[in-house]
Every structure is written in C-alpha cells, then in structure tokens.
Symmetry: C2
Subunit: 416 residues, 2 copies
C-alpha cells in the first residue's frame, strides 16, 4: 500500500548527456519505494514549481523499464531547464511562498534538484527557508555539470561523457590533419570559462602513434599570446602538424579574455566577440603564415549522447538513486556525492555532503596538474580523468539516428 | 604460385570516414588473387608515386583480418593525401615519365586511385597517357567524397557517414536547444561549397516529436538575406525554438558567397571571411534580437568514424574489391560505381563507368528535390538519403577512445 507523500524532481542549468540518467535513477528508485506515492517532475526547473507546471512521471514510467532505459541515454533535460536565481528570502519572500504552496498542494515531502553550483544555491536557499518555517520537506541536490567544477565530489556527472567526446574528437581531428604533407596548425576550442577540466581531457586522445594535442592551455594559468606563438614555432620545428587544445576561457595576466582582443565591429556597427579559437587562428596566420584552422567543439561536447561514457551514465544513475535514498533517510540540505576509493581498479562510493559546501563554489584544476610552462597537463591529470571516459553507451538507433526519448512537451508549437 | 605483377593503390583529396574501408577492400581482394604478387601503397597520393615513396601493404596486412578490419573503421587516409593536379601530358610530360618509370620499377600492372572528381582527373590523364605509349597498366578510379557530388554513381562513399553524423548531431543539438523556455534561433553550418547534399541530410534528424531543422538552405538556389530573415520571423510565430541547417556555400543571385558580405578587417589589418553561420547569427541578432547561436560542424562531419554508417562502410569496402575485379578483368580508364536497384528494400549493384564521365564534373541536388520557397528539401530527398545512413559502425575502443589504425608513418617527427 503506497503512502500519500510524494516526491518532486526538477533539472536546472546547462545540458549534459547524463542529466536524464540521474532523473532515470530517481524515478527507478522512487517507483520502488512504498513511502512515495507519486513522482512529479517540474517543467523548466524551479520556474515550473512557481508556475505549477508539473508532469506526473509515475504515469509515464511505472512498470516500464524500457522507457527508463531510453531516458537514461537521452541528452539534455527531459524536464527542461531554467536559469532562475532565487532571491534571499529575507529580501523577497514571494517566490518562497508560492513554491511552498505548490509543494503543499502536491503533498511533496521530497524535493530533488539536479544541477550545478548555481542550482545548488537554489537547494541551499529552499532548505534554509524550509527550516525557518519548520517544514519537514527534504531538499536534496543531485550534481551535474560538464565543467567538473563542483566541490566535494571526485568529479561531476556529465564531465566524463564530455571528456570522452572531446578526446575521441581530438583523435579524429588528428587523423584528419595528418594526411597532408605540409605544415599545419589546428586549434581546438573547448568549453570552460574558468575551469580547464574539459580542455585537459583532450590529452586522453594521446596514444602510441599520436601525441596530439601538442599544446594545451587552461584558464587556470595566465595566457600570453607571445608565449603561445613561441610555443607553436618551437613545435613546428619538431613536427609537421601541430594540434592545440585551448579553453574558451583563457585570459591574460590582467584577467581579460583573450578573445576580447579580437572585438570587431560587424556590418551593423555592433562590436562582436569572435571566439578564442578564431582569434588564435588569425594570430598564427599572420605571425607564422602556415596553414591554420580553428575548430569550436561547441554544444556537441555537452549533448552528443551517442558518444557518452558508460561509466558516467551509470554514476549519474546511481547518484539519482542515492538522492532518493538520502531523502528517505531524513537528510536535507545535502547534495548526493561520490568519492573515489581507488583508481586501480577504479571504484567509487556514494554519500552526501552539506549543500553549503558546494553551492556557488567553483573547483579548478590544481596548478600542480599543469606543467611549469603552462602549455600542457601532467600525468596526474590523465590518471584522474582516464577512468571517467571508460565504457561506451549502448544507444539504440532508428532510421539511422539515435532513438531518444520523446520531448514533445518541450517543443510544443505556439498557437498563432 | 603468385605472379610477379603488382598492384599500386593511393588516396587523394579530402578525408572521409570510409576511404580506408575502400583501401581495406582493395587489400583484402588483392591478397587473395594469384595474379597479384605485391600490393604497394603510395604515400600522399600521386605525389608518393613521383617521389618513389611506397609502403609494401602485403607485408603489413597479409594473413591479418583483424588489421584489415581495423583499417576499415579508421578515419581519413592511411596512405595520406595530396592535392596535386597533373598537367596535360601535351604540355608537360615530365611527371608522366617519372610516374611510369616508378610503375615499371615496381612491376605495377594495376593502378587504383581512391578519390573525388579531381582525383578522377588524375586517373583519366594517366590512362590516356598510358594508351599513347601502349602501356598495359590498368588505371582504375575508386570513388569517395562526403560531398556526394560525383556523377554516374547513385551516391558517393563517405556521404552516408557524414550524413549520419549530421543528422544525429542535428537531433542532439535540437534536444540541447529545446530545454529553455525562451525564443531562440540555432544555425547549423554544414559543409558543401556548391552541392547541398550534406545540408539536406540534416532533414534525417526529423522524427515524431522534433521537426528540426525547420529551415534548410542549399547552395543550389540563390540565397536572399531578406527572405531568410522573413522565414525566421514566420517560424518564430509558430514555435519557440527555430533550428536552421545552412550550407557553407549559399550564394546570392549574383553568385557571391553570403559569408563574403561579412568580410571584416582583423587586428592585423587583414580582411577576414567569417563563416556563413556566424554571418547569419549576426543578422538574426541585429534584425530580430532573440537568443541566437551558430554551430559549425567543421571537419568532424568528415572524420568522426565513431559515428559512421555501416551501409557506407560496407559499400566503400565493396567498391574497393570491385576496383580490383575490374582491373583483373582488363578494364582501364574506369571508375568503380554502384547503382541503386531498389529503395524498398534498399539494394545496389556494382559496376564500372568510363572515367571521363566522372572527372571534373559536379553533381548537384536536383532542383525538384528542393521546395518552391528554397527553404526546405522534399520527401524525394529523404527517400533517397535515408537508406545510406542505416546501420552503425562497430568501432573498438581502448582507454575510452576509438582504437584506430596506427598512422605513425604520416606523423613522423621532423629531426631538427
């Protein structure tokens, strides 16, 4: 006999390929629990709670493991996202009143929020406010971000899959580059405004015949265009094809983005920022003059589910399950987390961490994992990242393309 | 008892993910033939023949089906490429003398060249020159190009895999886009300077919940920026998220590339061409003002072997085998080809076509396969392209990345 207490889950922030795996973990576990009657999903994160825009996930997924499995492999967010930042309740209580009204209306006892450090701020604020009104609702954060910049967790779900895509793509770009018998420079621009985890992951492309990327620049160390040109020139003395991985967020000593130097006025008279890769492409072209190309991996590094890491998918799923477990154990104001027990063989254990230790904090690549010259990462980085990209997602295909979960509720046409 | 006549194979032009599958087909078939003693591969296309830079492929692949299979799934070109255009022999005979000397030196009776319409020009010229000197060497072309612009073949090997990558990526980008509850325009720039086959293939991303791409622009029809803005505005009345597939090669009525309009002076005072996607992104930003992003699929659409079409790989392999078969049958000055016998079920037959019908000619998308408005393709295009992306490559992974064939001979370091 199921109880009449319910759980509510939502997703927030930027996409990864495994946020839906965490959602699938929550649903799978919650469906089995006697103490949870219905599972609601808020559409577009906390905004969906404010707007009373909920889906009944029990109806969609009950007794359907095939659907749960398909959800697990679907990119981005089945429930949609938002970038809504709650004010402090001391400053503006209205959002809080509405949210807690909705939670009461749907008899929600367990509130789970999947997101990055901004989303953990929402969990922190709701759980703090809940205490002031003696609410018994449990607020749990479930981590996700391709940027891997969450504190108090060995690595963030979403990072491993993005890292795998970046490493595989870097190797494929290297094969594409090696075929011509002429000097060339290829610059791969990778996501990460402040943390260089994803850019460092390009090093996982290296193997016994290919040392690409030959240069790696992370935002953790100041970037000098003069040093960059000197590095490229030195590399071109040693090899025909130089492949560079650079973070979109590299900055000079003064903290200005390198790409800001290339601000140009477009045909409408507006200043445009071209990307870091494009800027460096121009720099190489005009200071060195060899063949040069820049490639921006763009959103595919965060949404290419067909190339996800199986390790990442499974961990994201487990973290979702662990979130429900923690809520049922009476925890609140915590984030589900994982710690690495060992790298050989790779094993992790799951737990929770107080949310205030995670919210609004960015974890960067340790400087000791970047080489002295600031143009490569060290073996410690590789040892850390390698297990996270192991294993391949078993994505089903139909009509030659991946068969993902139907998200028609997010793409409803506007009636004119 | 093997004969003492040999075969020589080379690769030329731009990369695809299945050129090595054709090479694998040649090697597999040639290894079995009594009348072929050794199989040589010229490194960097016809340049490698001129430079006497050959690899003995017999040594590498004999009795090793695992290696042949790995080669079949490796992107770009195991033998390297070149962009060398032979002069007419009437104008400059020196290259021809050197090439035929090398062929004689290595007792080459069968010459196979894998490439696109430019490379078929090389086969045409060599076979014509061979006739004038009464050479008995057989010259065979094996088709490849992601652009699908070769004549006298139902479709070019390489196209199906690029099309599959484009369709899957378009669907994944759509999932990435749908999560936010705000109007947005996403512009995907796809390869193709003159032919829109690849851009049209983005339509294969459409399914029961996602009609993206909502607008498709090919270079076959003149592009008007005014019409483009009007199209986007009309779409934004009907849906929140508008996703556009546009060929890099769209041109205005006067035949000028649209991207040329965005020529800007960079920080070095040089004029830079920004891409078509970036230009249209700026156009939407300043005429409509909603959230807008452009994504250039770049070289990954031609080198992402991890996402290749199995149909494409197998056909490329068969065409390699058929090239050897044609040579042994005494054909010369021909290209191996395939014709579609049926689309339901999809079946093809292999044959040959005189090389002069293929060399230097570009096949474009029929205008009847583009809608009246010039902003979409028709069902005939989809029916044509769908079977070509069916099936998934079985790529092996090691350390989390695809395990491709060692190409160290192409990446040798330069000794300082």
């Amino acid at each position: 006999m199921k109880s009449d207490t319910n759980c509510l889950i939502a997703q927030s922030g930027g996409p990864t390929t495994v946020i839906n795996a965490s959602l699938a973990g929550v649903i799978k576990k919650a469906l089995k629990e006697e103490s949870i009657h219905r599972i609601y999903g808020a559409v577009h994160g906390i905004q969906g709670v404010i707007d009373d825009n909920l889906l009944d996930l029990t109806d969609i997924f009950e007794n359907d493991d095939l659907k749960i499995n398909q959800l697990k492999h679907t990119p981005a967010m089945f429930l949609g996202s938002c970038r809504y930042k709650l004010s402090d309740y001391a400053e503006n209580i209205s959002d809080y009143s509405i949210i807690f009204q909705t939670l009461k209306k749907y008899s929600v006892k367990y509130f789970l929020y999947i997101g990055g450090n901004d989303s953990m701020d929402t969990v922190l604020k709701l759980s703090a406010y809940g205490k002031t009104i003696h609410s018994d609702i449990k607020f749990i954060g479930i981590p996700k971000t391709i940027d891997n910049d969450l504190e108090c967790i060995d690595h963030s779900p979403g990072f491993g899959s993005a890292a795998k895509y970046i490493a595989a793509s870097t190797l494929e770009i290297a094969h594409d580059t090696y075929i011509y018998d002429m000097k060339s420079v290829t610059i791969i621009e990778i996501m990460g405004r402040n943390a260089g985890w994803l850019t460092g992951a390009a090093a996982l492309a290296r193997n016994e015949y290919s040392s690409a990327p030959h240069l790696i620049y992370l935002p953790e160390k100041p970037f000098s265009t003069g040093k960059f040109v000197a590095d490229i020139k030195a590399q071109l003395k040693e090899r025909k094809h130089v492949i560079v991985a650079v973070s979109e967020g590299v900055k000079d000593r003064a903290g200005s983005y390198i790409s800001a130097e290339s601000a140009k006025t477009d045909q409408f008279g507006h200043v445009m920022l071209s990307g870091t890769g494009k800027y460096l492409e121009g720099l190489v072209k005009h200071t060195i003059g060899c063949k040069v190309r820049s490639i921006e991996l763009n959103v595919l590094q965060r949404c290419a589910s067909h190339a996800s890491s199986l390790t990442d998918i499974e961990e994201a799923f487990q973290l979702g399950q662990h979130g429900i477990k923690a809520a049922l154990n009476g925890e609140s104001g915590v984030m589900a987390t994982l710690n690495r027990k060992d790298s050989h063989p790779y094993t992790v254990e799951y737990g929770t961490v107080p949310i205030e230790k995670v919210a609004n904090i960015e974890k960067k690549v340790p400087l000791s994992w970047i080489n002295e010259e600031g143009n490569d990462i060290t073996d410690s980085f590789v040892e850390y990242a390698l297990p996270l990209i192991e294993g391949e997602a078993n994505v089903k295909y139909r009509n030659g393309v991946p068969e993902y979960f139907n998200v028609s509720h997010l793409v409803e046409n506007i009636t004119v």
